[in-house]
Every structure is written in structure tokens, then in C-alpha cells.
């Protein structure tokens, strides 16, 4: 599977996370006959048309009915199929959280729930379509693995890893069309195992989702100013990679978490929860969405408004390094 061409990845990068995901599903379904897709009337939006064309008997559109999509998927998974339930991240898990918990989490089924347009991506459509709470909801449901891939290649890796995983998975998709290709070459990917994208000594920036790109750019800015920055791709927010966190807490003097999610309940919270058990651990800066409903605006606007652009992250780090710890 690893032989995806650079040209394809570049094309996916242009098209965005929806096409990257939809095409990854097609590739997985060619290899695994038990893979089926369930959509709540999001077929074209989620770029599932190619899947539907190639696998018409393995594609189900349950109508605009997210709760039914989840329960129907639970039934399919219960019988040994591997459903990917796909809709807009603002509607799954929130619209169907109880079904996600009781019928997939509780029964610990091999169902996958994918939310497109998570984080800052749906800004122009308004807060009804703005998924900034999905990690918080999903982290609180036992048995679920929660994954936020950062680029087209990691989306492909996530989909294939999901194909081999036992237990339910939530896949959170972020980033606008044109989202950068962070991993042009083949790389090792394992659910639950963070990737040290770049080593560094002073500061560790831990990011999840497409905003990893901003974290990398922030590291570049800081490196030029003499700050050694480690960048970690925490693609799996649950279960969080505690080995990587152990390493960060013992080796780096400042931790920065970066995510397109409410500051409550996301990656930053997960890191802080684990850090709470340490006698001595570094200070943490949480770069996340403030706990408020947002103004409307495009992806870049949302990143700027919420201090998630590279220069904003770098500035927060610089400020913090100048301020002695209390």
C-alpha cells in the first residue's frame, strides 16, 4: 500500500482532506472486502462518489439522519463488516453522540466514524457547522481511538491503519484545500504512536491535525532566533502516546500544544491531564480555539483569529521563554 506516488499526494494536497480521505477509502476497499461506507447524504461533499461508483453494493446513503447512520453502522460492524460512517464533523459525534457512545463505544465495535471539515475549516458557514468540540466528546467515550491526521499522506496511513485495527475509531479531518503535504516520502505510522517530526532541545511543540504545518513553521521562526524546537505530530489524541510525553517532560523546558479545537477537552487537555501526575514537569502553552462561538471567516481567518498561525505560536513561545516560571 505504501507505494502511493508523490504526484497523487500532491494532487490530494491541492484537493484537500475530503478527496484525500475519499480516495484513501477506495484504495483500502480494494484490499479489504469487509470495508463499507455509510453516509448521511454527504456523498458528493465528502468526495465519496468514486467509492460509490466502484463499490455500489458496499455504499449506503441513509439520508440526512446521522443518528441512524451510526446505529446502522453499528449493526453492520456487529456482523463483521467494517463500516466507515462519514459526515460533517459538526454533526458526528455531536448530533449522534449518544448512539456513538451506546451502540459503538459500549459494544466496542469495529466501526469508524469520520468527520470532515473539522476545526477551523467550516468557518464561513457559521457556528452550526463548526466542529470545535468533537475531540472532547470522543475522548470521553471509552474504547474509542481518536485520530487527527495532518496531511494527505497521513490521512492515507490513518485509513489503512484503521483497516487493521480492532475497536472503534474516530477520524477527525482538518485543513482547507491546498493543505500542505507534510510527509512527501513514505514514513512509519502507527495508531497511538506519536511521530517526532523534528528533534529539538528547548521547546516541544505538540500538534494534532493539519495545524501541524503551522507548528512546523513556528519552529522554523524560533530556530532562526536561536531556540531549539522539537516538533511532535500527535496524530492520535486518544490513547495519547505517554512514552513520547515522558520524553518531552524530561527533556524539554516548555510544552506547546497546538490544535484546531476548543481549549477545553482537546489535545492540550489530554497532555495536561497526563502532566498532572508529575512532580516536576514543564510549563504548557495551549494554542487552541478560545471557548467561544466564532465569527465567520475562512480557514486562514480562523487560524489568525484564534492565534494558531505560525507567527502567533512563535510569539507566544518567545514571550513565555522571557517570562520566568512562577
Amino acid at each position: 500500500m505504501n507505494n502511493i506516488s508523490l504526484e497523487t499526494l500532491k494532487e490530494w494536497s491541492k484537493l484537500g482532506h475530503r478527496s484525500s480521505f475519499g480516495e484513501s477509502l477506495v484504495l483500502l476497499a480494494r484490499e479489504k472486502k469487509d470495508v463499507v461506507v455509510v453516509s448521511a447524504d454527504i456523498t458528493t461533499t465528502a468526495r465519496l462518489v468514486n467509492f460509490q461508483k466502484e463499490f455500489p453494493d458496499r455504499f449506503f446513503n441513509v439520508g440526512i439522519a446521522e443518528q441512524n447512520m451510526i446505529d446502522f453502522s453499528a449493526g453492520l460492524a456487529k456482523e463483521g463488516l467494517m463500516p466507515f460512517a462519514v459526515t460533517v464533523a459538526a454533526f458526528a459525534p455531536m448530533r449522534c453522540a449518544e448512539q456513538v457512545r451506546s451502540m459503538i463505544g459500549y459494544m466496542n465495535l469495529n466501526a469508524r466514524i469520520a468527520g470532515i471539515e473539522a476545526g477551523c475549516r467550516f468557518g464561513p458557514l457559521g457556528n452550526t457547522h463548526y466542529a470545535m468540540d468533537d475531540i472532547a466528546v470522543m475522548r470521553a467515550i471509552p474504547n474509542f481511538t481518536v485520530v487527527c491526521p495532518a496531511d494527505p499522506h497521513e490521512i492515507l496511513k490513518t485509513v489503512f491503519a484503521a483497516g487493521d485495527h480492532k475497536g472503534p475509531i474516530h477520524i477527525r479531518l482538518t485543513g482547507a484545500p491546498g493543505f500542505p503535504l507534510i510527509y512527501p516520502d513514505d514514513f512509519d505510522f502507527e495508531l497511538g504512536k506519536a511521530i517526532e517530526y523534528r528533534p529539538g532541545e528547548d521547546v516541544a511543540i505538540i500538534a494534532t491535525g493539519s495545524v501541524l504545518w503551522e507548528a512546523i513553521q513556528a519552529a522554523d521562526i524560533l530556530e532562526k532566533k536561536g531556540v531549539s524546537v522539537r516538533v511532535i505530530d500527535m496524530h492520535t489524541v486518544k490513547p495519547i502516546d505517554v512514552k513520547m510525553l515522558d520524553s518531552v517532560f524530561s527533556q524539554n523546558q516548555l510544552v506547546v500544544t497546538v490544535e484546531e479545537h476548543n481549549i477545553i477537552g482537546g489535545l492540550g487537555s489530554a497532555v495536561a491531564e497526563y502532566k498532572a501526575g508529575f512532580d516536576k514537569a514543564p510549563k504548557q502553552i495551549m494554542c487552541a480555539l478560545s471557548d467561544s462561538f466564532k465569527k465567520i471567516g475562512n480557514y486562514k481567518f480562523q487560524l489568525k483569529e484564534n492565534g494558531l498561525l505560525a507567527e502567533d505560536i512563535a510569539e507566544k513561545v518567545e514571550r513565555s521563554l522571557k517570562t520566568p516560571m512562577k
Binding site: Q67, N68, G75, L76, E79, M103, M107
Partner: protein, 285 residues
């Protein structure tokens, strides 16, 4: 199940199940139990387990078993009683209903070893999951049926209708939903709590609609289910079965006070006496 039971034998099984329901519910002490909603559907569940469904308690995961989903999961007493009488659950577990660390939760929690097919209890969710089970059978080319018991009050849940239309769209004629129309729900008479024309609504879903006049009459339930279970019209099948809430225990019948409640020793004895009297009457016939 290898053995096919006659209606007369299923009636005896249902009588045993009623007794199991009372024993389990009484064993739960102050935790109480949903007596009324379980007793209304005991005869339907008994007919499914002993006269209709293909299953094998010695091989609970037999791939071609018919699937059973109790969408009205609060009627778990009836489900567990069927599993006890079938031999999935040992009889000595009766005392463990709602007990600490028991598998016999107030609402069924999936446990195939003991014959519990699907987790239910959050109303509305059993039917759409049953649709998934039926769809999977179609995808995999399997020929078993999926039976799902839905409460009439449960039909208040919007997801029931999402599932109903979905099942019709995908031609799930291997799915049979039996709606236990006992006329009551937690806070009152179903017609008052939320007036719904179940005939009209189910008739509009694209399912084949059937009726059972007396859902506590095993002969009628058996006859109807046998008649329709293997027909392949391309449509899922719904049966509106009129039942009596609390059926078989005189003071529980049509009495909302026994929807979900603990019973004391006096009530327990009175319930057992009712069941023993009914047994005497059956023997005289």
C-alpha cells in the same frame, strides 16, 4: 433450535418465563424491575425463541442463527427469561438480576456467550441496529432473519422512523419488527403522552404491515410469524401486536404503577399465586 415447539408447549415456556420474570424482579429488591413492559411481550418473545427463530443455545454464535434485538431494552426480564428457558443463561443466575457485577443488567448488554445479541436500553436504537444486522446479512449473502421488538411508546423516538425508511429503501425483507402495543409508557397512556397513529405511520414507511389482535395469544402470534417470516417481497415487515401491559399478573395488568417498580414479599407471593392459578386452569383444559 433443533426442536420445534407446538403452541401448547410454547404456552408452558411462556408461563415459566413469567415466573422467571417475577423471580428476577423480586431478587432485584429495592432496585425494582420493569415488570409491566416485560410481561406484555413475554408471549411474543417465547414464540420467537421456541417456535420461530433458528438458534442453538449450545452454539450461541452459530453464524446462521436468526438475530434477536429487543429494541425496548427495558423489557430485559422477558429476554433474560427466554435465554434462561432456552439454556443460554443458567437458572441459578436468576438471583443476579441487577446485582453487582452481574451480566444481567437492567438493560441488555451485548454478551454473545449468554445469547445477548445487541446492547439496547436507550430507546429507539435497537431498530436501526437491527437494520444494520439485516443489511449485513444481505451484503454477506446470508439467509437468516432479524427479529426486533419495538415498544409502542418507543415509537416516539425519531430514530425509529429514520430506521424504518432506511430499511424500506434497502429492501430488508429479512427484517421483522414486532411492535408491542401495550398502550402505556412511563408517564401515562401512550395515546395521551404522544398521540401517534401507528397504523398510519407504519403504513407510510414502505414496509409490509401486519396485525396481531392478541399479542398475548401464543397461537395467534405463532401462526402469524410462521406465515410471514420467510416471504420475500422486498419489503421489511412490521407487525402491530396488541398486548396487555403486565399480562398474567392480575394486579399488574394495565396498571402503570408496575411499569418499573420494586415489589414487596406480599406482592411477590400474590404474583406467584396468580401464575399457579393460571397453571391449574391450563391443566384443567
Amino acid at each position: 433450535m433443533e426442536k420445534t415447539y407446538l403452541a401448547k408447549e410454547i404456552i408452558e415456556k411462556a408461563a415459566n418465563m413469567r415466573r422467571d420474570c417475577i423471580e428476577m424482579g423480586f431478587a432485584a429488591g429495592s432496585e425494582g424491575a420493569h415488570f409491566g413492559p416485560a410481561l406484555s411481550c413475554v408471549d411474543i418473545v417465547a414464540t420467537l425463541f421456541f417456535g420461530v427463530m433458528k438458534h442453538d443455545p449450545k452454539n450461541p454464535e452459530m453464524p446462521d442463527r436468526d438475530r434477536f434485538v429487543l429494541s425496548k431494552g427495558h423489557a430485559s426480564l422477558a429476554y433474560y427469561a427466554a435465554l434462561i428457558e432456552s439454556g443460554y443463561i443458567p437458572k441459578d443466575m436468576i438471583s443476579q438480576f441487577k446485582g453487582n457485577n452481574s451480566i444481567l443488567c437492567g438493560h441488555p448488554s451485548m454478551n454473545l456467550r449468554y445469547g445477548i445479541e445487541v446492547t439496547t436500553g436507550s430507546l429507539g436504537n435497537g431498530l436501526p441496529v437491527a437494520c444494520g444486522l439485516a443489511m449485513a446479512a444481505k451484503v454477506k449473502g446470508e439467509s437468516h432473519n432479524v427479529y426486533c421488538i419495538v415498544g409502542d411508546g418507543e415509537c416516539n423516538e425519531g430514530i425509529i422512523w429514520e430506521a424504518a425508511f432506511n430499511a424500506a429503501k434497502y429492501n430488508l425483507d429479512n427484517l421483522i419488527a414486532i411492535i408491542d402495543v401495550n398502550g402505556f409508557q412511563l408517564s401515562g397512556v401512550t395515546a395521551d403522552v404522544m398521540p401517534m397513529n401507528l397504523d398510519g405511520l407504519w403504513g407510510a414507511t414502505g414496509w409490509e404491515l401486519f396485525h396481531i389482535e392478541d399479542g398475548n395469544n401464543v397461537e395467534e402470534v405463532l401462526q402469524k410469524l410462521k406465515l410471514i417470516k420467510d416471504t420475500k417481497s422486498g419489503k421489511p415487515k412490521a407487525i402491530l401486536a396488541k398486548t396487555v401491559k403486565g399480562k398474567g399478573i392480575s394486579f399488574m395488568e394495565n396498571n402503570l404503577a408496575f411499569h418499573a417498580t420494586p415489589i414487596n414479599e406480599e406482592q411477590y407471593k400474590a404474583a406467584i399465586a396468580d401464575l399457579e392459578n393460571a397453571e391449574k386452569v391450563r391443566k384443567q383444559q
